[in-house]
Amino acid sequence: MNIKEIQDLIKFVAKSGVSEVEIEQKDFKIVIKSDDKKKKFQEQIVVQAAAPVAQIAAPVIATAPVVAETPVATSAAAEQEEDSKYITVKSPMIGTFYRSSTPEKPPFIVVGDTIKLGDAICIIEAMKLFNEIEAEVTGKIVKVLVDDSTPVQYDQPLFLVDPS
């Protein structure tokens, strides 16, 4: 296999939706694992969207959100009620959430850190563009609601901050 063929194979596996491919030839072996983050996100969404219409008891064509939030966001929302003194920092864009600027570097912020306006708090990548997200509040990080390298939707809660 030349490099082009390998690239094509990787692309193919990535699109295929399978989680792992292992090929062993006489003097060549390749293992391709598909991107975990993508799979996870998909599963999350599929679970929500697959709830059959017929099982929904309340009038469904109403104003209640029907798909909207990810489980992460939902549980965050629940906790948020308990912790209503905290501020939720939401994602300003859709993309992939990174806690540090490169995998080798430490996260921008961890629980317990104090942030102030303008501090870099994470990176969201869309179309190969790495967008540094800055804090718009001041306070102490209480919780990080999204795992590193996870896709996030617009408006999805990322951090809980204690402004007091």
Binding site: G17, V46, A62, M127, Q153, Y154
Partner: protein, 444 residues
């Protein structure tokens, strides 16, 4: 065939595309703005991703957001619907670069048809009739007279700086040219401080008649006959029908052939529409080509029995056109139901729909994303439903449309239903005697 299509649109067309994907066994991803989170496309798609706030520029028009949504959901194709990014050259290109199939025209095709001057010269080269006129500004009166001879009377003189109906004058014969020339120049100079004039053929009683076309990746193209969209208000189509009451078999043959020439001239791939103006002598002139699905594709579906979204997806996936041109065997009419108040100059009427009851029965089709309880957002266009009827004759179709409009109950917001009811009673409309200026004199 594609495994998963992301629909980069909202409203009825997003739902329309999801329906066909479901019937084809293709998974769907709906992207939505926060304003649309309770919408039917979000509900009925296999996956749904929020891509931004209500403002279109930050959601439905945001290329990075749409592409990011496609990437994180592993969609292998994007259907852009109409409007938004559907004729965006850059978006088509970015899709290509990200190895996501854009279900629409290539960047080159969009560019070629998006630029008017470019499109016109391509069409002229291909032998498609365009509105004749001067090449740029007229030098002087003799130039005007010489050009008019080629263009053929009647012609219209237009101020290059003109607008709003000012600085233009129709000339019917050479004897009147000198007076018209002087008057229009004087008027233009006074009104715009610029007396440059150009000339176009004057289209008498123009009808907007468009030809639906389809092209595959192997150079084949067919046409699916016409749609008459002459009933317009401020260039917004209100009612569409097929066949056109003005059409003849001979004209359909000529226009169909011209549309296919236009399609082949740009190696067009997918479904598209070639729009023409047709004058009262049944001479027709190329206006523009829309490189996407149209709002009014529905009526062509009703009279040909083909699902155009399905055909579009199949063409994008590389399938070949095997059949020939398609001709209407029935008569279909579409009324666009907008959340607008026809009693208040068609002012938009956003708000919550309290009661919703749709007409039904034989030959009645509804394409809509609204329901009782739906909030019509002021952020997007006001079209809330397409009511389509099909019958054996135009007369029957009009009667069916009247019946269906009478049954259609939408409460909570004002709609254009009463306007359409009135229109269906109009003697001129019933006779099929109308052109693009119909709404100038129609009394609602």
């Amino acid at each position: 065939m594609f495994k998963k299509i992301l629909i980069a649109n909202r409203g009825e067309i997003a739902l329309r595309i999801i329906r066909t994907c479901k019937e084809m066994g293709i998974k769907t991803v709906a992207v939505y703005s926060t304003a649309d989170k309770d919408s039917l496309p979000v509900r009925f798609a296999d996956e749904a991703v929020c891509i931004g706030p209500a403002q279109s520029a930050l959601s439905y028009l945001s290329i990075p957001s749409v592409i990011a949504a496609a990437e994180i959901t592993n969609a292998d194709a994007i259907h852009p619907g109409y409007g938004f990014l559907s004729e965006n050259e850059k978006f088509s290109k970015v899709c290509e670069e990200h190895d996501i199939k854009f279900i629409g025209a290539t960047p080159e095709q969009i560019a070629g048809m998006g630029d008017k001057a470019n499109a016109k010269s391509t069409m002229l080269k291909a032998g498609v009739p365009c509105i004749p006129g001067s090449k740029g500004l007229l030098k002087d009166l003799p130039d005007a007279i010489k050009t008019a001879e080629k263009v053929k009377y009647p012609i219209i003189l237009k101020a290059t700086a003109g607008g709003g109906g000012k600085g233009m004058r129709v000339v019917w014969k050479v004897e009147d040219m000198e007076a018209a020339w002087d008057a229009t120049r004087a008027e233009s100079a006074a009104a715009f401080g610029n007396d440059g004039l150009y000339m176009e053929k004057f289209i008498e009683e123009p009808r907007h008649i468009e030809i639906q076309v389809a092209g595959d990746q192997y150079g084949n193209a067919i046409h699916l006959s016409e749609r008459d969209c002459s009933i317009q208000r401020r260039h917004q189509k209100l009612v569409e029908e097929t066949p056109s009451p003005f059409m003849t078999d001979a004209l359909r043959k000529k226009m169909g052939a011209a549309a296919i020439k236009a399609t082949k001239a740009v190696d067009y791939e997918g479904v598209g529409t070639v729009e023409f103006l047709v004058d009262k002598h049944r001479e027709f002139y190329f206006m523009e080509m829309n490189t996407r699905i149209q709002v009014e594709h529905t009526i062509t579906e009703e009279v040909t029995n083909y699902d155009l979204i399905k055909e579009q997806i199949k063409l994008a996936a590389g399938e070949k056109i095997t059949g020939g041109n398609l001709f209407p065997t029935m008569h279909a009419i579409q009324c666009r139901i907008n959340a607008e108040d026809p009693d208040a100059n068609f002012r938009p009427s956003p708000g919550k729909i309290l009661t919703y009851h749709a007409p039904g029965g034989h030959g009645v089709r509804i394409d809509t994303h609204v329901y009782a309880g739906y909030e019509i957002s002021p952020h997007y266009d006001s079209m809330i439903s397409k009511l389509i009827v099909v019958a054996q004759t135009r007369e029957e179709a009009i009667k069916k449309m009247k019946r269906a409009l009478d049954e259609y109950i939408i409460e909570g917001v004002k709609t254009t239903i009463p306007f359409h009811q009135k229109l269906m009673e109009d003697p001129k409309f019933i006779e099929g005697d109308f052109n693009t200026s119909f709404m100038d004199t129609f009394e609602y």
